[in-house]
């Protein structure tokens, strides 16, 4: 059955640990989505990835039904993981928070490629490099 889409809701959540408290509750209740059905399904599909931020992109249809797909973790999460950093400074001017190699950037670009609008890996790498700089992380060869 073909259905019309009402909204796209992307939730960045901790794998295996979704629960009905905010942000899940208010985000989904506003669309009349069965919250427990989503929480159970999300946790089941992400239980092997605890410790990661795994976004769920939910497509809400006009009749209240929905589907969702899991996306790759946010770029910033992958950068922090690659260099073992807890938090980015958020301010490039504040000083360098760590170092990342071009090989690591390529790995992240390959992982994120399908979720970017880049036409090739080099383009995706340039997008990742922009985020790296915004986080105050230094790029080394």
């Amino acid at each position: 059955m073909a259905k019309k889409i009402k909204a796209i809701v992307k939730l960045n959540l901790n794998a295996g640990k979704a629960n009905p408290a905010p942000p899940v509750g208010p985000a989904l209740a506003a669309h009349g989505i069965n919250i427990m059905a989503f929480v159970k399904d999300y946790n089941a599909r992400t239980q092997n990835r605890v410790g990661e931020v795994v976004p769920a992109e939910i497509t809400v249809f006009t009749d209240g039904s929905f589907t969702f797909v899991l996306k790759t973790p946010p770029t910033t999460f992958l950068i922090k993981k690659a260099i073992g950093m807890e938090k980015g400074s958020g301010l490039a001017s504040k000083g360098k928070e760590g170092k990342i190699t071009r090989a690591q950037i390529r790995e992240i670009a390959e992982a994120k490629f399908n979720d970017t609008n880049a036409v090739d890996i080099e383009g995706a790498m340039r997008q990742i490099e922009g985020t790296v700089r915004n986080m105050g992380v230094e790029i080394v060869d």
Binding site: M1, A2, K3, K4, I5, K6, A7, I8, V9, K10, L11, N12, L13, N14, A18, P20, A21, P22, P23, V24, G25, P26, A27, L28, A29, H31, G32, I33, N34, I35, M36, A37, F38, D41, V53, F61, T62, D63, G64, S65, F66, T67, F68, P74, T75, T76, K87, G88, G90, L91, T131, N134
Partner: protein, 308 residues
């Protein structure tokens, strides 16, 4: 105990800025971040394309550190606005905790279809005993039952189901049409689908409506059934319904869907956009089916054909 209170922080930004803002929020809101975007429709075939700005929001628990966190979030957005011009100041709103598990249910009401059917969410009391109640639990597979294709297929089922005779539902999905057929008096029903999730969902809905002993859900293909290799007792019925999309209906006709209809029986079709009329009529008539009637709702059509 006092209710928990949350502070919602949100910002309306362009899709290009959404990830940067989302990352900023995630530093202070560990439970997660929401990015929401609307859709636009580019023609009748378009199911919806993401369009317009994104609303990024997250929730902070009200603790002693809340004012400090608010200041840091405002500062972070200000720094981002030096790089991206579309970044606004954040909006804060106090949100009282509530039973989120239940709050989504307030959107649901009984849905009346045709002259005899009502679709009733499982928690709502039946106040219309003159109508047959199809009990549903809204979930991923099934929403409110308000979609025109669901309504058209229910209307056709209500009109053509034959009490005391069997019924076949091709692409059974949530199983709602098989359940409706049983409630309307069909002796037994077969729901076939290629999706394993549909098998689970169909059985749950049959159980919920006290029809589990008269409906078989099977993951079988039409050629398997027509070759006698399905292992199913019911392989032909005087009423066969299929609520799928036109290209899939065409493919199913090519696979022999019309052979499931007993001579003199009815083939009911839904999931057809109004501008696909000629395609569906051509596909059905090429298999010897005779046009009986067309029903329309919004930009969707439902068809009844008879097998001579």
């Amino acid at each position: 105990m006092d209710k928990r209170v949350w502070l919602e922080v949100s910002a309306l930004v362009s899709p290009e800025s959404a990830e940067s803002v989302s990352e900023l929020f995630s530093r202070y809101c560990e439970s997660g971040v929401v990015v929401e975007q609307g859709v636009e429709f580019q023609g009748v075939d378009d199911h919806g394309t993401p369009y317009g700005p994104c609303r990024v929001c997250a929730y902070l628990e009200m603790t002693e550190a809340i004012e400090d966190t608010k200041r840091k979030l405002s500062e972070g957005l200000w720094y981002l606005s030096r790089i991206r011009s579309d970044i606004p100041e954040p909006t804060f709103r106090v949100v009282e905790d509530q039973n989120w598990m239940e709050s989504w249910r307030k959107f649901y009401r009984p849905v009346f279809v045709g002259e005899r059917i009502q679709i009733l969410p499982s928690w709502i009391e039946d106040q219309h005993p003159d109508r047959l109640a199809i009990r549903i639990e809204p979930s991923m597979a099934f929403g409110t039952g308000t979609h025109p294709t669901t309504q058209l297929s229910l209307l056709l089922t209500e009109k053509y189901v034959r009490p005391g005779e069997p019924f076949i539902d091709v692409g059974s999905g949530s199983g709602i049409l098989s359940v409706a057929a049983i409630l309307l008096g069909a002796s037994e029903a077969l729901g076939i689908d290629i999706d394993e999730e549909s098998m689970i969902s169909g059985k749950e809905n049959a159980q919920r409506n006290g029809a589990a002993d008269r409906i078989v859900f099977a993951r079988r293909s039409i050629p398997e059934i027509n070759r006698g290799e399905s292992g199913l007792k019911l392989t032909k019925a005087p009423v066969v319904v299929a609520n799928i999309l036109t290209p899939i209906l065409e493919a199913l006709f090519a696979q022999g869907m019309a052979e499931l209809v007993a001579p003199g029986g009815m083939m009911l079709l839904s999931g057809i956009l109004s501008d696909q009329d000629e395609r569906i009529r051509a596909a059905a008539e090429a298999r010897g089916l005779v046009f009986v009637e067309r029903m329309a709702m919004e930009d969707w059509a439902g068809y009844a054909f008879r097998k001579p």
